[in-house]
Every structure is written in structure tokens, then in C-alpha cells.
Amino acid sequence: MSARLIWRKSLNVFMLSMTGLCALITVSALFFILGYLVYNGGKDLSWNFFTKLPAPVGETGGGMANAIIGSLKLLGLAALMGVPIGLLGGVYLAEFGGKTIPFIVRYTADLLNGVPSIVIGIFAYALVVMPMHHFSTLAGGFALGIMVIPTVIRNTESFLRDVPRTMREGAFALGANKWRMIATVVLPAASRGILTGVLLALARVAGETAPLLFTAFGNRFWSPGLNQPTSSLPVVIYTYATGPYEDWHQQAWAAGLVLLGLVLLTNILVRVFLTGGSAYERT
């Protein structure tokens, strides 16, 4: 072998192993993050964590029941607002749209999806908090709802488009008109994919902190109804992690573990069970 060939072959092996190393570093980050959170947060997870209110400042103990309920309420509102709009909008893009309008909507959805969440927070502040003159669960849910729409709309559209043309033609041949064809044939056929998109969108906003800081704000007590500021898991993690007390830091780890566990579990279950493990292939 000439020196040139040896050089080329070693470069080949070296660079290819480097790419492998890059991939390895990237994916091992996830396991590291998960492991570190389990190590630090696991020991502080107790029944109290899920059932008690936060202890008064300076005292140890207490839990995050209000933050967990608050997060669930915010997610519920976000789903209530974002899912219908996203779903129907997706149907429009896939079934009714011509050429120009769907293109504009699709592009706008992608751009809205990329808007920093803190800017969405400003928007919700201007639209909900300013007229109401106070922070509220409603404002937080509104902010998260806006973030749900683009993902659901794009996902719904792409899964509807995957429904074979023959199924539509079959429905028409049986005398169905268009909306009946969509409601009874196309939507059910695409339902698993659509559900995947909805759950992934909700899992994503479940961890959003920035848009909640000045919409849902925070609360150390229960927040009845939708009209008052509410605590939420991500905001509590932020507040506790940056706070001065050792006990707060411990609770932040525990809350972080709960949040990460829920987000990852949703992602894994949805991708493995609803789509046979290939959801990410089709995106």
C-alpha cells in the first residue's frame, strides 16, 4: 500500500469513529440527565410531595400538590383551546384547502412554532392579563394553548394526507358527501396519528416555564377556579432551584424528576404504542 492509501484509509477510520463518538455523546446526554435526576431527586419523593402544600418559607417539608394540580389545570385549558383549533385547521389544510391558503397557513404554523415561548408569554400577558389586571390560570392556559396549535395542525394534516385515496373514493362511492367522508372514514383512519400529535404537543408545553412566569405567575396555596394565579411544576422548579434554601433545592430536584419522568414517559409510550415506534420516521 502506498503511503497515500494508508493515509486515506486511516483518515477514513478516524473520521468515521469521530462521527460515532458525536452520536454517542449526544444520546448519552439523555441517560446522564435522567440518571442524575433520579439520583438527586429520587430520595426526596414521598407521599407528602404529591399531597401537601408547600411549607411556609424557611420551614422544611411540605409538598407540591398545588403545583401538580395547577399544571394539570393549565394543560387542560391548553388542550381545550389548542386541540379543536389545531384539529379543525388540520382538516382544512388536508381536505378543503386549495393551494395558496394552505401554503400560507402551513408556513405560519411553522413560524409560530419557532417563536420563543417567552414571547408567547408577552402575548398572553397583553391579551389576557392586561385586560383582567391580574395573573390567572386562564392566562397561563391561553399561552400554552397557543403553543399547542401549530404542532397539532401540522401533525393532523400530515396524518390525514397519509390516508389512502382509495378509502375516500370508497366512501364517495357509497354516497357519502364530503364532510361525512371526513368524519366517518378519514378521521378515524388517522386517529392514532392525530392522537400522537396531540399528546406530544401537550407533553412539550407541560415543561414550558417561560410563558407561565407572567401569566399564571405562581402561588404557594391552592388556586380555586381559573381566575387566580396558580402554581405549576416548571415554575416551582425554577423558583426553588434559584432560591436560597437547601430544602428548596432538594424539592426542586424531586419536582424535576417528576416533570421529566412524565414528559419522557408520555413521549415513549406515545411513540412506541400509538405508532408502532415509527412516528419519528414520518415527520
Binding site: 486515506r8 483518515l11 477514513n12 473520521m15 468515521l16 469521530m18 462521527t19 458525536c22 452520536a23 449526544t26 439523555l30 440527565i33 435526576l37 383549533i85 379543525l88 385547521g89 382544512y92 389544510l93 378543503f96 386549495g98 408556513y107 413560524l111 409560530l112 420563543p116 417567552i118 414571547v119 408567547i120 408569554g121 408577552i122 402575548f123 395573573f135 396549535i149 395542525i153 400530515s158 375516500r168 373514493e169 364517495f172 358527501n177 364530503k178 371526513i182 407533553a203 407541560a206 415543561g207 414550558e208 416555564t209 417561560a210 412566569l213 407572567f214 416548571p234 422548579i237 432551584a241 434559584t242 430536584w253 424535576g256 419522557l264 413521549n267 411513540r271 415506534g277 419519528y280 415527520t283
Partner: protein, 329 residues
């Protein structure tokens, strides 16, 4: 849709005649209208978002004009607001993040697209997508309690010892600061670079690889000299996309950047970013001018990410026939 006999078009709806009303009561048209309203809501929200940011920042724009972007003072008490330290912090941390994340992400994508067996490749892509799903506040948590101490005790002294002659690596080691924020950001955006680049690389036709290999190229040569250049535009797209993420990233940066509106040459010194100042000061802003200045920062952030995302999608659409698809979020 030639095969859909009663496909509704906007014209049908606009001119829905008596006959069609009697026959079907325009059921298709009603469905068309309802879904169209939903799609239009998305457009409305986006337009309203821009409008609100524009109108609510009017006071600050009128008072400071373009000097807003070149002024360093940020003094809520005297009502002097300049965005320069925040713009600087945002750009510096994003640049650090890209320097680290792009080689890592593109390298990983090459491995997944070109080398790894399909099964392993899709498994690892799955893991990388999960990494993209980790909430930002979790990265912040690890940043504060794990990365900051490591930076303070190990990384920063080591950098000072080796590269300390550069102004970039001088000054006291606080642990927090531009460099730490950049590293956290890098870890957060790698999955985006990786999964989009992988997608783009896989869209390069197989023949091109085989042609290169047939000419006697090694695997690496075929990848680096043929496949990567063919996917170049899409890879740029993935970088823009990741950059847009980095610019707008709030929580993790806020927790480790130090929150100090100063411009310093040293990457070790505490700084501030646009998103962080919004997170920290927005809910406490007193006075219309203060709020208006903060909202103008939000407008800047919005425009930056809007442009970058638009560019990114365009580049990705150019290289993959499937278009921008639903990108990992």
C-alpha cells in the same frame, strides 16, 4: 380532487344557491367554513401577536429610536433603556452554542445517516428526539447545580491556564456566565441539528454514494466530498433552526448566565440575554416606559427568530422533497 363529485370550493360557498341549500343544506360548505375559521384563527393569532408587540412597544420605540440598540445603560430608575448588553449576551451565548453543537450534531447525523445499521440509527434518533423533549428548566436545574460548580473549579481554571493569553478566557471564575450558558444551550440544540441534518443527509440519492464508492473513494471520502456537499443547504437550514432555538431559549440561560447587564470580553463574566431579562423583569416592571422597553426586546427576539426560522424552513424545503414536515419540537 377530480374524483370528488361534490368537493366544495370557496366559490360554491360564496354563491350557495337556493337549490344547494335545499338539497344538502350545504353540509360540506358548513364543514368547509368551520375548518377554514380554525385555520384562519392561526393566522389571526400570528398577526395579532405581531400587532401587540408593535403597538405595546410604541412608547419605547418613539423615545429611544435606533439608539435603543447601541446604548448600554439599563436603568429602570432613571428610565434609561438600552438593549445592547442583552443583544450582545444573546448573540455571544448562541455563537458559543453553535460552535459546540454544530460539529457534534452534524457528526452524529453523519453516523446515523451513513454508517449505523437502520435499526440502531432509528433507535438512536428516537433517543435524540427524547433529548429534544427534555424541558428547558431541567437543563437549567442541572446547569445550576452540576455544570456551574464544575465550570468554576475545573473548566475555567484549566482554560485560563492554557488559553489565558486570550482576552476571552481571563478574569475571575464565577462558574456562571456567557460560557456556561453557551454550553447548556449547546446541549439543548444538538438534537435539533442532529435530527434535521440526518433527515437531509438521508434525502441524498443512493446513487451518488455508490458512484463515489465505485470511483474508489473511501466511505469517509464519499460522505464528506459527495453526500455532505449535496446536503449542504439543508444542513445550513438545520443550523439556522438550531440558532433560532438558541436565541429564544429562556429558562436554562436565565439560570446560569448571571443576569448582569454588562458587556465584557471575557466569556467567564456574568452577562444577560434578551430572553432572560424578560423572564426576570417583566412581571416586576413598573411604569409604561419600562414595560414598553421590555416588550420592544420581545419584538426584537420575535423578529430575529422569525427571520431565522423562515430561512431555515426554506433551506430545508429546498433539499428534502418532503418539505419542512413537523419538525421535532
Amino acid at each position: 380532487m377530480a374524483t370528488t363529485p361534490n368537493a366544495a370550493t370557496p366559490e360554491d360557498f360564496a354563491g350557495s344557491s337556493r337549490t344547494s341549500l335545499r338539497h344538502t343544506f350545504g353540509a360540506d360548505e358548513v364543514a368547509h367554513l368551520i375548518t377554514m375559521i380554525a385555520a384562519a384563527t392561526l393566522l389571526l393569532i400570528t398577526v395579532l401577536l405581531v400587532y401587540q408587540l408593535w403597538v405595546l412597544s410604541a412608547e419605547s420605540r418613539a423615545k429611544f429610536g435606533w439608539s435603543f440598540f447601541v446604548t448600554q445603560t439599563w436603568d429602570p430608575v432613571s428610565g434609561d433603556f438600552g438593549a445592547l448588553p442583552f443583544v450582545y449576551g444573546t448573540l455571544v451565548t448562541s455563537a458559543i452554542a453553535l460552535v459546540i453543537a454544530v460539529p457534534l450534531g452534524v457528526g452524529g447525523a453523519i453516523f446515523l445517516a451513513e454508517l449505523a445499521p437502520p435499526k440502531i440509527s432509528s433507535y438512536l434518533t428516537f433517543v435524540s428526539d427524547l433529548l429534544a423533549a427534555v424541558p428547558s428548566v431541567i437543563y437549567g436545574l442541572l446547569g445550576v447545580f452540576l455544570l456551574v460548580p464544575i465550570m468554576r473549579t475545573t473548566v475555567q481554571p484549566a482554560l485560563k491556564a492554557t488559553l489565558g493569553f486570550l482576552p476571552l478566557f481571563q478574569g475571575p471564575s464565577y462558574g456562571i456566565g456567557f460560557l456556561t450558558a453557551g454550553i447548556v444551550l449547546a446541549i439543548m440544540i444538538v438534537p435539533f441539528v442532529l435530527s434535521v441534518s440526518r433527515e437531509v443527509l438521508m434525502a441524498v440519492p443512493r446513487d451518488q454514494r455508490e458512484a463515489a464508492l465505485g470511483l474508489g473513494a473511501t466511505k469517509w471520502e464519499s460522505t464528506w466530498k459527495v453526500v455532505v456537499p449535496a446536503a449542504r443547504i439543508g444542513i445550513f437550514g438545520s443550523v439556522f433552526l438550531a440558532m433560532a432555538r438558541a436565541l429564544g431559549e429562556t429558562m436554562a440561560v436565565t439560570m446560569v448566565i448571571g443576569n448582569n447587564p454588562k458587556i465584557a470580553a471575557s466569556l467567564f463574566s456574568p452577562g444577560y440575554s434578551i430572553a432572560s431579562v424578560l423572564a426576570n423583569e417583566f412581571s416586576e416592571a413598573t411604569g409604561n416606559l419600562y414595560l414598553s422597553a421590555l416588550i420592544e426586546l420581545g419584538l426584537v427576539l420575535f423578529l430575529l427568530t422569525f427571520i431565522l426560522n423562515g430561512l431555515a424552513r426554506l433551506l430545508i424545503v429546498l433539499t428534502t422533497s418532503r418539505g419542512s414536515g413537523v419538525l421535532p419540537s
